[in-house]
């Protein structure tokens, strides 16, 4: 692209190589598309162009590429994918920058740690299941009017606020060496409900992931959330808990929301140890 640009050719183009897969259990394959360059593009607008004209670089008509997105401003967490080898949000991946790093071509792959639904769409249900496992909510009495919440210092707010930005995008999980992919398929004589149940039980035994550990710190630091601390710490020391974290710190490096994951993990680790010891002496 950069070359073309300098030569001032009429049609500036660049290539996009996409790892496609028609559905679960199917073989994946690379497909190359040629896209005409416009200023201010990001990977979503590239995919929109491809959707409007689904034709490969060598002129073959194909089905449009499937992908997830919604907000287009990096707050909803939908559009996670691996772009030029790095897991990130597609909406904030600006084409100009990508071509600076890697002229002529952009490479798109689905996150590999989640089962592929189709093309760049993956099933991130496991990530939400972990939020259930760690009781990631404040257990208020109810939704009737009971006046203000507990007062909070600016300092407390400034600690909680960044943690509550986790948009469940899953970048940290893609980067984490301990978060291995599992792909379950529905059995022939299994109802959808039974399948969902089996998925949940399986996920609960596997590593819950840095995003969920950080949510434990968020809710255990909240003046009311704190009341359920020990339940959350139970989840942290159960099967699939924090003991699996190898402290590789890959997660924090890729989080688009700059969530201090390793700080959370360190705090959670200490709290979990104390909690385990206390349990040990209680019995």
């Amino acid at each position: 692209m950069a070359e073309n640009h300098r030569e001032g050719e009429a049609a500036k183009t660049f290539d996009v190589r996409i790892l496609r897969q028609a559905g679960p259990g199917q073989a994946s394959y690379w497909e190359r598309h040629r896209v005409s360059y416009e200023p201010d593009m990001n990977v979503i607008s590239v995919l929109q162009k491809i959707a409007a004209h689904p034709r490969t670089a060598d002129g073959q008509d194909v089905t449009p590429v499937a992908w997830d997105c919604n907000c287009l401003e990096e707050v909803c967490g939908s559009c996670t994918m691996v772009i030029n080898g790095r897991v990130r949000q597609a909406c904030s991946a600006l084409v100009d920058r990508l071509l600076e790093q890697h002229p002529d071509e952009i490479e798109l792959r689905p996150a590999s740690t989640f089962p592929v639904v189709r093309d760049l769409v993956v099933d991130r249900g496991r990530l939400f299941q972990a939020l259930k496992k760690v009781t990631a909510w404040v257990a208020v009495d109810g939704y009737y009017d009971r006046g203000e919440g507990p007062p909070q210092s600016q300092e407390e707010q400034e600690q909680l606020y960044p943690l509550s930005h986790c948009m469940s995008c899953g970048c940290c999980l893609e980067a984490c060496p301990q978060y291995a992919r599992v792909e379950l398929t529905r059995g022939v004589d299994e109802s959808p409900e039974e399948f969902v149940q089996r998925q949940a039980e399986t996920y609960d035994r596997l590593f819950l992931g840095p995003h969920a550990i950080s949510q434990v710190i968020l809710f255990n630091s909240h003046p009311t959330g704190r009341h359920m601390s020990s339940l959350r710490l139970d989840a942290l020391i159960a099967e699939g808990g924090i003991q699996l974290c190898g402290n590789a710190q890959n997660c924090v490096a890729v989080c688009p929301k700059d969530i201090p994951l390793t700080t959370s993990i360190a705090r959670a680790g200490r709290a979990a140890t104390v909690h385990a010891l206390r349990k040990w002496f209680d019995v």
Partner: protein, 655 residues
């Protein structure tokens, strides 16, 4: 009776607050959403949520004043009882969200901090940095997850609502949806269906909305017989950052925290904005509206920016329309604490640090004041009767509308930070009424004849088959969408003119006809996004027609709907006597105009003609009599004086 269930379509603030409140009341709830609910569009809201507070009260504020600002800002086009009820609930809603763990910004002592938003003189707006919507949505998402674990809520995420199921009395008995992964179409019997599907910004192609804001769910209800009201009132937000795929919002909070809008007095001054001295900058909002300054209501700020660029040629850039939104005089630390979220968006997407260089912004389509028509149950003192199933119900019994797709609260123009409030209010307030509705039903939807649901599922399957079987090489849905967006943006945004609206209507009808020949590039039965998009596009046309017809018919200026041909004049007379006579004529004209146009537009879809029929409904203005909205008009003080004399005289005549 079999167990009853409620289906909530949409998992933004409105849908989730309804789901959690219904679950608390012991009702079983299904939530259907295109995206995982945590990724709903509400996550984008930046600036904050309004209520009067103990602090503003001491400066003279009250729930009543919040109510008054809302109807005044909305140019009196809303029935007042729902607005009043909402304003009185607002402080309680913020307290509840606080208890749920929303990380609102704090004062030094630990109270919830507030900022000022447009259209008010009080600092009413509670905020969590510049990501208030995200924080509110997460708190509700967490509560709904809690109810999911408790077995009261079932989620159907990645499902598309295809339409309500009506029995032969026209009562809503459930809906049909499609799994976006497996493409399975199935019916969901439900004893009430709540539509909380948000706005329809995608009708305009690019807007500040998320890509799921197609209005499809609303349009499907509209086409099934639900009325749609005030469609022509579309809010264009004054400050957004133009982008290839989206117009990214720069929240009003940027101005609430002291941001100033200006252009160089010399057109397209090539100097670095920071090198342009104060005397050569035109702070046009501050000069034209000394009282509200940069915080005039949105419709006015938008028109002024438009005017500065288009009519006065003072755009900052040559080939592109934009003005400066300047925060560079505010200390960096304060900016990061209060506006971090939006400044990061600007930096990330524009590659420029707005703490150092003024941002370049231009208006963008943002919010639909119009939505599904709903009813309300008025109490003698002008509020809403609680636990009444009449509140928020559409004209189809059992079908309700909540959140942005409920037309009720914002009239002709929404005030900033009032939408998050109306969404949460809707969910919380509707739930007890639904409990009463459910207990009044003789049979559960689950016991309704299976044929009712089967025939609707078959109809939807047939529609889908028809789409899939269309011959290849037909119209391209993505390109048609782009054209639709261009037509709508040109004709039905900031300045509206009848000839343009007429052309646009014709063009939209042509596009709708062409869309019938759309061919799918993907005819498969697995995660077929092409199909889902094309179907949403087809459903955009009825709403686009509703907006255009409503705008064409309404020959006046009100809030976001501005037709220069019908603008009220400034007072230009040379002598006081002349001006007084003009003011008198002005007031007479204002009065007459209200008699003709202070009415909600109510649209009904006519399936056979594939067109929209409009009628008009009187507005309940019994609590606060309409008064002229005079922001920035030359002669405003005199008009106000004459108007007040008239009102006093009128009151004196009433025995």
């Amino acid at each position: 009776m079999a167990r009853q269930r409620v289906m909530v379509v949409g998992g933004g603030l409105a849908g989730l607050s309804a789901a959690m409140k219904l679950a608390e009341l012991g009702i079983d709830v299904d939530v259907m959403s295109l995206t995982p609910v945590k990724r709903s569009h509400s996550v984008c809201a930046q600036g904050g949520i309004n209520s009067c507070s103990d602090q503003t009260r001491q400066a003279g504020d009250s729930e009543w004043k919040h109510f008054d600002d809302t109807v005044y800002g909305g140019d009196f086009l809303q029935h007042q009882p729902p607005v009043k009820e909402m304003a009185y609930w607002a402080p309680k809603i913020i307290n509840l969200m606080d208890r749920l763990g929303v990380t609102f910004n704090r004062t030094t002592e630990g109270f919830i901090d507030r900022r000022r938003f447009g259209g008010t003189l009080y600092k009413r707006t509670a905020f969590a940095g510049a990501t208030t919507g995200q924080q509110l949505l997460y708190a509700l998402d967490e509560q709904v997850r809690r109810w999911e674990v408790a077995g009261k809520v079932r989620k159907y995420e990645h499902w598309d609502f295809l339409g309500p199921v009506l029995d032969n009395h026209g009562v809503c008995r459930g809906c049909v949806g499609q799994d976006l992964v497996s493409m399975e179409i199935r019916a969901f019997p439900a004893d009430a269906v709540l539509i909380a599907s948000g706005g329809c910004g995608l009708l305009y192609g690019r807007s500040t909305n998320s890509v799921m804001c197609t209005g499809s769910a609303v349009s499907r209800c509209f086409q099934a017989g639900a009325k749609y009201a005030n469609g022509e009132f579309i809010q264009v937000h004054p400050t957004a950052v133009p982008g290839a795929d989206k117009l990214r919002l720069m929240s009003e909070s940027a101005r609430g925290e002291g941001g100033r809008v200006w252009v160089p007095r010399t057109p397209q001054d090539p100097r670095n904005p920071r090198d342009i001295p104060e005397s050569e900058r035109y702070y046009f909002l501050e000069e034209r509206y000394p009282q509200y300054g940069n915080l005039v209501p949105r419709d006015i700020a938008t028109r002024e920016i438009f005017d500065i660029c288009i009519n006065e040629g003072l755009s900052v850039e040559k080939g592109r329309q934009c003005v400066y939104l300047d925060l560079t005089h505010i200390p960096r630390q304060e900016l990061d604490r209060k506006l971090g979220g939006i400044l990061e968006i600007y930096e990330k997407f524009q590659g420029v640090d707005p703490r150092v260089t003024p941002m370049k912004i231009f208006p963008a389509v943002h919010y639909s004041m119009g939505g599904l028509w709903v009813d309300y149950d008025r109490t003698a003192d002008g509020g809403l009767r609680s636990a009444s199933p009449t509140n928020m119900v559409t004209n189809l019994p059992g079908l309700y509308a909540l959140g942005e797709c409920n037309y009720q609260y914002h009239g002709a123009n929404r005030l900033g930070a009032n939408s998050l409030l109306s969404c949460i209010f809707d969910g919380l307030f509707a739930a007890p009424g639904l409990e009463v509705w459910l207990s009044s039903r003789a049979t559960a939807a689950a016991e309704a004849p299976a044929s009712l649901f089967e025939s609707e599922v078959r109809r939807q399957q047939a529609c889908q088959q028809e789409l899939i079987r269309r011959p290849a090489g037909g119209e391209n849905p993505y390109l048609l969408h782009q054209t639709l967006g261009e037509v709508m943006t040109k004709a039905a945004t900031v300045v509206r003119r009848n000839p343009q609206l007429r052309d646009a209507l014709r063009e939209v009808e042509e596009l709708a006809a062409r869309a019938k020949r759309c061919a799918l590039a993907d005819t498969g039965q697995w995660t077929n996004q092409n199909l889902v998009f094309t179907r949403a596009l087809l459903d955009m046309f009825p709403l686009a027609q509703t907006i255009l017809r409503g705008a064409l018919a309404r020959d006046e200026c009100r809030g976001a709907h501005y037709k220069p041909e019908f603008a009220m004049p400034h007072l230009t007379g040379e002598t006081t006597a002349q001006r007084r006579a003009e003011a008198d004529a002005w007031c007479t004209r204002f009065d007459e105009n209200n008699r003709r146009w202070l009415k909600s537009t109510v649209a009904v879809w006519q399936p056979r003609e594939e067109s929209v029929q409009l009628s008009y409904e009187d507005v309940d203005t019994s609590l606060i009599p309409p008064r002229p909205r005079l922001y920035g008009l030359v002669g405003a003080a005199l008009i106000e004086e004459v108007w007040n004399q008239r009102v006093t005289a009128q009151l004196a005549r009433v025995p």
